[in-house]
């Protein structure tokens, strides 16, 4: 047991773990993470199955990486705890007794003799230290007075506060991993959806995309109302960087798209033989409208594809849900029977060609399309977040203390000999030694001058 604790509390283990974790983390950035087995096979050939088995394709979620992090946390905990109690003792009940020889061995030291009895000299040194901002403790034993002056005692604990902060952050990470929950909720305008496990619903009142003058997207804004038991409780605009918080859940603006099922098309019909002939229609797929020509033609919109492409066997299909190449299949009917059809393209008006002799004189153009938009919100609950923030505050406070709140100590041993008092001083500073040396020199100079 003792050996285990010694192992877990060693700084050497910490150093080894820092190196191993750094190297393991690098590996995870060199091998793309979380791809399919096929992709790895193409990339790494015969090695791919070994990579997958060793979890090099999901390093940060692998058992071995988590085990390393766990060992790191344990090391941090044991190391900090075993060093804590001696430090607390040093802070609260420091060992006062010292002898002049040990002080003379210190790196920062000085000594002088002064007239007068021990008690006077002790009082002067004590008040000199106090004036310089040191808290002084003293003991007198066998004709020898030992003084300890110390300032910024909290500085002893800077690294412990840093370590505590890291442990709290790691605890937050564990809480996130175990209790975190995330789901995406696609919503059309006006639609209501329950947020899973949350006990409330959300309604998308409005979704808008804002643009800069140059056409780049400025913002996506979802106006969202939270409903509890069907009753609205709050309405807020959710945008990127501005999530909505409610009952421990956060709702983020994650994605958006057009609801092509609700698309309305603006279709123009012209005649090659009659430049004055122009008819404009607003049609949804499945709508039929009379063209108003002497032949009694009816126009019917069969299909709409936002990103037209000829797929397998030359069948039209959509490549994506983005309007990269919007196209509509238009059909013409005469006397109730289909007479002609053809695809028309918003971006390529000249490309339209009606198939069927009766449509040869007609030209259709897809002038515009408007579709309702849907917004994808992400609902997330993460019990680890408050711990991560608390740990971060501790971490930063600890770093500030460790680097910029240095504990400085001055020890003095006074002995009376032949009507004079011999004063030996030694200083100790783990940090900011150059500034301390200056202060120490000034302190000793002031003490030499008194009385």
């Amino acid at each position: 047991m003792k050996a285990v604790i010694r192992f877990l509390s060693s700084v050497k283990l910490a150093i080894a773990l820092l190196i191993i974790l750094a190297v393991a983390s690098i590996v995870g950035t060199l091998i793309p993470q979380g791809r399919t087995a096929e992709e790895y096979a193409v990339r790494y050939g015969g090695l791919s199955s070994a990579f997958i088995r060793l979890q090099l394709t999901a390093v940060y979620h692998s058992l071995w990486y988590l085990a390393l992090l766990g060992l790191f946390a344990l090391n941090l905990l044991v190391c900090t705890l075993t060093r804590l109690s001696p430090k607390v003792r040093r802070a609260r009940r420091p060992h006062l007794a010292a002898d002049p020889k040990s002080l003379a061995a210190a790196r920062i030291k000085d000594r002088f003799k002064r007239t007068g009895p021990l008690a006077d000299a002790q009082a002067d040194v004590q008040s000199g230290l106090k004036r310089a901002g040191y808290r002084v403790r003293s003991s007198v034993e066998g004709g020898r007075a030992c003084l300890l002056g110390r300032k910024r005692t909290a500085g002893l604990f800077g690294s412990d506060i840093v370590h505590a902060g890291l442990l709290v952050i790691i605890a937050g990470g564990i809480a996130s991993g175990l209790g975190g929950f995330k789901t995406s909720i696609p919503l059309k305008e006006g639609e209501v959806a329950a947020v899973p496990k949350a006990g409330f619903e959300v309604r998308l009142d409005e979704f808008a995309t804002e643009y800069y003058p140059d056409g780049a997207v400025k913002d996506w804004k979802s106006t969202v109302t939270v409903l509890e038991g069907g009753k609205p409780v709050l309405t807020e605009i959710v945008e990127v960087n501005h999530p909505l918080a409610h009952k421990g859940f956060n709702l983020y603006q994650m994605d958006y798209g057009s609801d092509w099922e609700s698309v309305t098309l603006e279709v123009w019909a012209k005649k090659k033989s009659d430049p004055a002939f122009l008819r404009k229609f607003n049609l949804k797929p499945g709508d039929k409208a009379a063209l108003g020509d002497p032949e009694g033609t009816e126009v019917f919109v069969r299909r709409f594809l936002p990103d037209f492409v000829l797929g397998e066997a030359n069948q039209p299909e959509t490549r994506s849900l983005q309007p990269n190449n919007p196209a509509a299949l238009v059909e013409g009917y005469r006397g109730g029977a289909k007479a002609f059809d053809g695809w028309i393209f918003a971006q390529y008006p000249d490309f339209a060609q009606m198939h069927g002799a009766e449509g040869a004189d007609l030209v259709f153009e897809l002038k515009g399309y408007t579709a309702g938009e849907y917004s994808v919100l992400e609902a997330a609950k993460d019990p680890g977040v408050p711990l991560v923030w608390l740990g971060s505050i501790l971490l930063m406070a600890g770093l500030a203390v460790a680097f910029y709140w240095p504990t400085w100590e001055v020890r003095a041993v006074l002995e009376e000999a032949g009507g004079k008092t011999d004063v030996v001083l030694g200083g100790q500073a783990a940090k900011s030694r150059d500034r301390f040396e200056k202060e120490f020199a000034a302190l000793v100079a002031a003490l030499r001058r008194t009385p």
Binding site: V11, L18, V217, N241, A380, W389
Partner: protein, 262 residues
């Protein structure tokens, strides 16, 4: 007076400072070092003006593309040098740090870097852009000081100069490490939580920040607890700066991930 004029003027002044510092290296006259510090500070002031103008013109923080962020990193490096020089007096590091600053600005003005001010994409519209990027780059600038002083430690022969470079290198890390932790990791987590809904995604830039942090944690533990100083310490500081450099630069060009802005 426009931003690119000020940028060029600042770069010229830094270069002048580098030349005078070089003269100081050979002549070793204290007066030369004092003279060199003047264009260094003047360059910093004018460079500050350039960054302010850029902010006013674009209406957002001056680090949203590679040109802007390199210019800001150059500014931060000059600032770190000026501050460390005021506190610890390291004129011998002057020529190298001024040349690093000039090199960063030269890289920023290369035709490969897009320079136009572009409106902010939705993901970057947050005051955390200011806090996250500026504090992180400032931390990295102090790592650059530690890098240069560590290299100088390794190449120096004079034990007094070696001692000085070793201690200044540590002091630069003592400033850079808290800044990098705050800006890169803590502010980064806060912003990620707000924008992406999760404080940590194991995105390559995040992982490389963590790696950089591990290396400097190693530096501090070996130095403070195990008493490593000098050579080994210098090598770890150099390694740490290279990791920071890769986090800043390499990740964008060599690895893909969420941080695909600048």
């Amino acid at each position: 007076m426009n931003e690119s004029t000020l940028f060029a003027a600042a770069m010229g002044l830094y270069f002048l400072a580098a030349l005078i510092y070089l003269a100081f290296l050979f002549g070793k006259k204290d007066k030369t070092a004092k003279t060199a510090f003047i264009p260094a500070v003047a360059g910093l002031v004018i460079h500050t003006g350039a960054l302010i103008l850029r902010t006013v013109e674009s209406g957002h923080a001056p680090f949203t593309n590679m040109y802007e962020s390199l210019s800001f990193l150059a500014w931060a490096t000059a600032l770190a040098f000026v501050l460390i020089n005021l506190r610890f007096s390291i004129p011998k590091a002057g020529p190298y740090l001024m040349l690093v600053t000039v090199a960063l600005m030269a890289l920023a003005s290369s035709p490969l870097m897009p320079k136009e001010t572009a409106p902010l994409v939705p993901a970057l519209q947050s005051y955390w852009l200011w806090l996250h990027v500026s504090v992180t780059l400032l931390g990295e600038a102090f790592f650059a000081v530690a890098f240069i002083t560590s290299l100088m430690y390794l190449s120096a022969r004079d034990p007094e100069k070696k001692d000085k470079m070793d201690s200044v290198s540590y002091r630069a890390v003592a400033v850079g490490f808290p800044l990098f932790t705050l800006g890169g990791l803590v502010f980064g987590m806060v912003w990620a939580q707000k924008a992406w809904g999760t404080y940590w995604s194991w995105d390559p830039k995040e992982v490389w920040s963590l790696i950089t942090w591990f290396v400097f944690a190693l530096y501090l533990h070996t130095r403070i607890v195990m008493g490593w100083k000098g050579k080994r310490s210098a090598w770890i500081a150099i390694l740490g700066f290279l990791a920071a450099l890769f986090t800043y630069f390499g990740v964008n060009y060599l690895l893909s991930g969420l941080h695909s802005y600048a």
